[in-house]
């Protein structure tokens, strides 16, 4: 992993050095994302790049991480941006606690900081005496939309299982809570709830086993679409077409599954536009607008047949 880090820092250093040499009086926005190995963030990056080109009145410097939990290099990226004196930092934190201190430092250096995608931890912010608004989707609300769609199709007493994301990840927790909200509201029966670490193959294995243990399952709530794909394959292998599946993210691969009814619904949180929106908000503040407060919710939408 050390080699990986070294290469990354060199690349980052070169990128930042190059950027400074080019800078003119346009405001500079530093965009810090999570894993570019994730289709979701890859789309987001493309959306931001297209946005920068379209607006043309700011300079974008984007940095991505190697994996979802690589907060160490996110901290370094923030420090590099501070040194460079960018006008705004727009960040999707890899860890909602670890990122509080470096971002506070950035804000103290007079940089406009916008937190999007995943909210910083409220307690950690309070502890460090740092106020920062959050621009992002309501993962819990989104999961509840998917859960409600499933609950309405099944009716009261429907027997469901949850396939969770990475234990401890903020969006995984929020989505599970959203599913549980639907379960409570529509009086569904939760038979089992397990993690498959966001992964298709693991979801396939874990869910087949859950189905063996509970053949009476009627509905499945998967915390992302990659896992929903694994669940759908498991259902096909078991020859069960009576079980409804909902997911989250609206990745390309689930399009055909929703169209032919193998999946009931998913949730789109418009990842492509998310970074671009956050950048818009940042530029408004840089141009002298009022600072953001509280939670600026970004749109989410239920996708069905």
């Amino acid at each position: 992993m050390k080699i990986q880090h070294t290469i990354k820092y060199i690349a980052l250093g070169v990128a930042l050095g190059f950027g400074t040499a080019q800078a003119d009086d346009k405001p500079v926005v530093g965009l810090i994302m999570k894993s570019l190995a994730n289709e979701f963030f890859q789309n987001m990056l493309e959306g931001a790049e297209a946005h920068a080109e379209e607006r043309g009145d700011y300079e974008l410097k984007a940095v991505g991480m190697q994996n979802e939990t690589d907060f160490e290099s996110q901290i370094n990226a923030v420090e590099n941006f501070i040194t460079q004196g960018v006008d705004a930092i727009v960040v999707a934190p890899a860890d909602s606690r670890a990122m509080v201190r470096p971002l506070k430092k950035a804000a103290a250096a007079g940089i406009t900081v916008i937190n999007f995608d995943v909210a910083l931890d409220a307690d950690a912010k309070k502890q460090q005496d740092f106020e920062l608004a959050f621009v992002g989707p309501d993962n819990r609300g989104g999961a509840k939309m998917a859960g409600d769609a499933l609950a309405k199709a099944l009716g009261e007493g429907g027997k469901v299982v949850i396939v969770e994301g990475n234990p401890g990840a903020d969006n995984a927790t929020e989505r599970r809570l959203g599913f549980e909200d639907s379960i409570a509201e529509y009086k569904l029966e939760l038979l089992d709830s397990r993690t498959a670490h966001w992964e298709t193959e693991e979801a396939n294995s874990v869910f087949s086993t859950m189905l063996t243990a509970h053949p009476e399952i009627q509905g499945v709530m998967a915390a992302n679409d990659s896992m929903a794909v694994g669940v759908v394959k498991a259902l096909e292998a078991a020859g069960r077409d009576d079980i409804l599946v909902v997911g989250f993210d609206n990745i390309n691969a689930v399009g055909p599954m929703i169209a032919d009814g193998r999946m009931l619904a998913t949730v789109d949180q418009f990842g492509t536009a998310m970074a671009a929106n956050a950048i818009d908000q940042a530029l408004e503040v840089v141009a002298g607008g009022a600072p953001l407060e509280g939670w600026v919710k970004t749109p989410i939408e239920l996708v069905t047949q």
């Binding site: 963030f41 890859q42 993690t195 086993t209 063996t212 243990a213 394959k233 096909e236």
Partner: protein, 326 residues
């Protein structure tokens, strides 16, 4: 030469006895879960377990070859993802019939795995580098290449016949598992019935002696890594057929499961001792544990802890085996 052959014969007989112990452990696990859970022995669940262990089994077969010569291959999970996206790109080309596409995709996937394995072997054997580092490099190269080729996007929508193959059952047994079992048989023949196999064991025991006996150690080592890469390619095809997607982030951490299967199966990490039958049983122990503990309703965290304990117990047992062997 005669000396090496004799030694490996002895070890081969010994390893059958060793596998016997692992077999008993597996049997005890099966009995335990049959008694404590309602569905464990149901035909559906057996089908599930067989398809759940298939990919790990295929990877572990190749891993056994590498570990037997005293090496390790950390790249198999990434190589599997790389091979899967190469095959995925091939299978989604336009203007060809399904049969041609499937053939081309399988060849492309296997070739991708083969090349990665070959590179691992040539680089670590030629410069006598620790395979740990070389394959760690390959882990990054293959993963990066998989992400680069696909722009981090999952490839989906394959020809129908190919998608069918992944969930095909033969009297309740997944056909992909039968493929894995055929590979186990081939590996067993190669390791126990050929000079090539015996020399691999001998390299794990005493590389210098094999070299002095006049064998081209370099070639045998390269072959072991290439076989491991090739099995990662086969695992990639099975992954695609089973899940009907090619994901560039597939297989993260699979190398560790494969290594765990081989080690639990009684193959020594320092090489020269172990068997493919042990690997088969070791992989089943992991698979049965994962399945049975879910059926028992145990939490994921407990499941992970128990798997960890099993790995450590296996290594402790290996320590005593090595002591009695000498």
């Amino acid at each position: 030469m005669t000396a090496t052959t004799k030694t490996s014969h002895k070890y081969s007989a010994k390893s059958i006895l060793e596998s016997f112990g692992i077999g008993i452990a597996l049997l005890l696990l099966i009995v335990f879960f049959s008694v404590t859970t309602e569905h464990f022995l149901s035909s559906n669940n057996i089908t599930n377990i067989l398809s759940q262990v298939t990919i790990n089994l295929i990877l572990a077969i190749g891993m056994t070859f590498v570990i037997l010569i005293g090496g390790i291959d950390l790249s198999v999970g990434s190589v599997m993802a790389f091979a899967a996206v190469v095959a995925g790109k091939a299978i989604s080309m336009e203007g060809f019939g399904p049969a041609e596409l499937i053939t081309v995709a399988i060849i492309a996937g296997l070739a991708a795995g083969f090349v990665c394995g070959l590179l691992n072997g040539v680089i670590s054997a030629y410069w006598a580098l620790p395979s740990f580092i070389v394959t760690l490099g390959m882990l990054n190269i293959a993963r990066g290449a998989a992400l680069h080729i696909t722009d981090a996007r999952t490839i989906y929508s394959f020809p129908y016949a190919f998608e069918e193959f992944g969930s095909l059952l033969f009297y309740g047994i997944p056909v992909v598992f039968l493929v894995a079992l055929a590979l186990v048989f081939i590996a067993w023949v190669v390791l126990t019935r050929t000079v090539f196999g015996r020399i691999l064991y001998a390299i794990g025991n005493n590389e210098e002696a094999v070299r002095l006996a006049g064998h081209r150690v370099f070639r045998y080592k390269v072959a072991a890594y290439t076989i491991c890469g090739l099995t990662a390619g086969i695992a990639a095809i099975v992954y695609m057929a089973r899940l009907n997607i090619s994901s560039p982030i597939a297989g993260i951490g699979f190398e560790l499961n494969a290594i765990a299967g081989v080690i639990i199966g009684g193959t020594s990490l320092s090489g020269g001792r172990g068997s493919i039958i042990g690997t088969l049983l070791g992989v089943f122990i992991i698979g049965v544990l994962a399945n049975g503990l879910i059926l028992l309703g145990l939490s994921d965290f407990m499941r992970q802890m128990i798997t960890g304990v099993v790995i450590i117990v296996a290594v402790i047992l290996d320590h005593y085996r090595a002591k009695y062997a000498s």
